[in-house]
Amino acid sequence: MIPPQKVFLVDDEPALLRALSRLLRAEGFEVIPFTNATDFLKAHEPDAPGCLVLDVSMPSMTGLELQQHLIDAGSNLSIIFLTGNGDIPMSVRAIKAGAVDFLTKPVKDSELIGAIRLGIKKTNEKRSTQNEITSLKNRLKLLTTREQEVFLHVVTGEPNKQIASSLGITEQTVKVHRGRVMHKMGVDSLAQLVLIAERLGLLVSKD
């Protein structure tokens, strides 16, 4: 059985929190409600899956401020804003900062649920990308210094002969290093290796 997907709800109005919780629970989500942003931040783990449904105007810390906190903490959690009287500049700011949606109260169930599903999907995408990058980085750490050098040259498309001359080693040695790099990075084609280099941001264009 698939574990229920988590929805974090933050709104300073308890009755509204209850109503939305009921709706989302009935829809099959696991709802974790908070009446203020501070409590949420205390409980939050940056790598948590799910989606955050956030009220814009709250006392002490507003929704937009909480969004900034999450960005600073490197959180992958997608955010859907709810507002009673959102204006355009506010929504632009929220969306630009990476919010999935900016919905006006009273919100239709289909709209809210659609946004939440999209949010969860995006959170998961971000998380898996990050996981992948983390594991690739770990693999990269396994390479010796010489192997890393060869790796960087190989992914720019340089032939072995040229790599050998620029590193001051024989072509045969380059081939050996190259084979080890492929093995350690868990790929079996040059194309896959280049893709990894790109994901890790190692491809610097040489002007």
Partner: protein
């Protein structure tokens, strides 16, 4: 030796005079020292003459020098101490001149009627020639001049001393002592046949030396004084810069004028305001800046300022071009070089009047903005207040729908949901109730208003919307409408709301046929206001537009017309809409004329 010393001193003071032509005391001193040197030479000659004739000759030269010395000594006292009596000085010089003339006329000279004997004596270990003869009684002229000189010196010294010129005592006394000594020696040599050559130059040398010393002291003192003066001058310059800055920093004209009204100092603003140039201002009296009929008022104010120390006055300033500028003057008495002056500041009141008008205008604008802000704030907080319960109701209801579709719905949960829905609904109703009470405020606060004025104010408030939509506005308002009693601000808001709706309704109308007509007419006991537009017109069910939360606009809350109707009804009037014959719509409302009694 005497000659050399005298010449040196003469050279120094001659140079001083040459550098400073007005240092006449130095010139006199130079003359005297030179003459003394000459006299010493002459005496030396006399001591070594071989014949009476030669001696005579030398004595004549001697006398010329004697004359020069006397003149220069008198001159020195005159210029240096500045206290000698002029008539005495003239008498001395006159007598001495007569003596000099007589010396050349008489034979052999003024000293002797005849020279009887010439012999050599030993004087200070040297062999010198002296003569003996019958003294000439006319020599008395010279001696008398010498006595007068003594008197002149005593008088000048005493007077200088009284005036506390401290250097006078040294100069005067030494001169007197040497002059007296000289008189005695001359008398003894000539009348008592004392065996001594004439050594007048020695005595004069004494005077020259004392005078030289004093003059040198003076020079040193002058040098110190000069350096002090420089410091003082620098300080004065700094002070002047400071006062200049103060003068210039004044917000209006600032000036200093003397008791007679002569302007002494002024700042550039004065020139700017009056239009007179710096040169013209310098020649001017303050009177010239005012109307002749204001002069007595002005002078009375000055008198008060001079006697009490300060005064204020409001009067028109007349510029060079004849234009009158109302001014406020504040004057304060100050002492400048021991004389009472007035320092005054003039502030242009026309600016202040303009400022006052501007401020009033600005305040009005601010009030309007605040009014608009309060309405927008109200609608914003209203949106929030209503959206919260509406969300609660909606989400709860939709959650309930989901629960009910389950096979075994949680009845307790459903009960809770319904409770929450009821609570939220009551809350929303409360918001509306509260809103009504805010807007109708129970009894409207009635005040007297001109119907046309209501339109004008509302139009001014809607100016941005009207201008942005490019609507052509025309007004049909009769002149002789009676005044109304109404709560001005809410009624203006109603008109504003209708005008804004009209602008919105004409969004799809071609820009050159966007028209709005504001009209007004008396109808029975009411004044009826109408706003006609050429917009999209009204929906089928026109009456629905007055319902709360019914909006045909994507951004509207649908409260405007509902609230407007509430306001008009609170006044005892009606608000309704009708479709225009060709295109657009008409919004009417009326206000009772006898509202004050209703």
């Amino acid at each position: 030796m005497v000659a050399a010393a005298s010449l040196t001193l003469a050279a120094i003071h001659g140079f001083v005079w040459f550098r400073q032509r007005n240092a006449l005391a130095s010139l006199m001193f130079c003359l005297m020292a030179t003459s003394t040197a000459g006299m010493a030479a002459c005496e030396l000659w006399m001591m070594n003459v071989q014949s009476p004739h030669q001696y005579n000759h030398a004595l004549q030269f001697f006398n010329v020098l004697r004359w020069l010395i006397t003149i220069s000594m008198v001159g020195f006292v005159h210029y240096y101490l500045g206290t000698g009596r002029k008539w005495l000085a003239i008498a001395i010089c006159g007598l001495r001149t007569i003596g000099l003339l007589l010396n050349f006329i008489l034979t052999p000279n003024i000293y002797y009627s005849s020279i009887t004997e010439m012999r050599k004596i030993s004087f200070l270990g040297q062999s010198v020639t002296i003569v003996e003869g019958t003294p000439n009684p006319l020599m008395f002229v010279g001696q008398f001049s010498l006595i007068l000189l003594a008197v002149y010196l005593v008088d000048a010294t005493a007077r200088a001393h009284r005036e506390r010129i401290h250097r006078s005592l040294v100069v005067g006394t030494s001169m007197l002592v040497f002059v007296m000594a000289l008189s005695v020696q001359t008398y003894l040599v000539l009348w008592e046949s004392m065996d001594s050559p004439i050594t007048a130059s020695l005595f004069f040398m004494g005077i020259v030396a004392t005078m030289g010393l004093e003059l040198s002291n003076d020079m040193v003192r002058a040098a110190i004084l000069a350096s002090n003066l420089q410091t003082r001058e620098y300080e004065l310059h700094r002070e002047r810069q400071l006062t200049d800055a103060i003068f210039e920093s004044a917000p209006g004209m600032l000036y200093l004028h003397a008791r007679d009204g002569q302007i002494v100092r002024w700042n550039s603003q004065l020139e700017k305001i009056t239009g007179y140039s710096s040169e013209e201002t310098k020649q001017m009296k303050t009177d010239a800046l005012f109307r002749p009929e204001d002069h007595s008022k002005l002078h009375r104010s000055w008198d008060r300022a001079f006697s009490k120390g300060t005064d204020e006055l409001e009067v028109d300033l007349i510029r060079k071009d004849g234009q009158a500028v109302p001014h406020f003057f504040k004057m304060v008495r100050v002492e400048v070089r021991g004389k009472a002056h007035l320092v005054g500041i003039g502030i242009d009141l026309s600016n202040r009047q303009a400022l006052a008008i501007e401020t009033a205008h600005h305040n009005e604008e601010m009030a309007q903005l605040a009014q608009m802000a309060s309405m927008s704030e109200l609608s914003s907080s209203l949106a929030h207040e209503l959206n919260q319960p509406l969300t609660i109701i909606l989400s709860n209801a939709q959650a309930a729908q989901r629960l009910l579709s389950q096979r075994a719905p949680d009845m307790q949960e459903l009960r809770d949901i319904l409770d929450d829905i009821v609570t939220a609904d009551i809350r929303a109703a409360d918001v509306i109730k509260k809103l009504r009470s805010i807007l109708s405020r129970g009894e409207p606060a009635l005040e007297q208003v001109e119907p046309a004025d209501l339109f004008e104010k509302a139009l001014a408030l809607a100016q941005t919307d009207v201008a942005a939509s490019g609507v052509l506005v025309s007004k049909k308002i009769p002149k002789d409408l009676p005044v109304l009693y109404a709560d001005r601000i809410p009624v203006e808001q109603v008109i504003l709301n209708i005008i804004k709706n009209a602008c919105d309704a004409m969004e799809d109308t071609p820009i050159d046929s966007r028209r709005m007509t504001l009209s007004c007419k008396q109808d029975m006991g009411f004044i009826q206001f109408t706003v006609q537009d050429s917009g999209c017109g009204l929906p089928e069910d026109a009456e629905r537009i007055f319902d709360a939360f019914h909006s045909t606009k994507p951004s509207g809350l649908g409260l405007g017309l509902a609230i407007s109707r509430t306001i008009i009804r609170a006044h005892g009037g009606q608000l309704w809409a009708e479709r225009a014959k060709d295109r657009g719509s008409l919004f009417h409302f009326n206000l009772p004329l006898d509202a004050i009694h209703s």
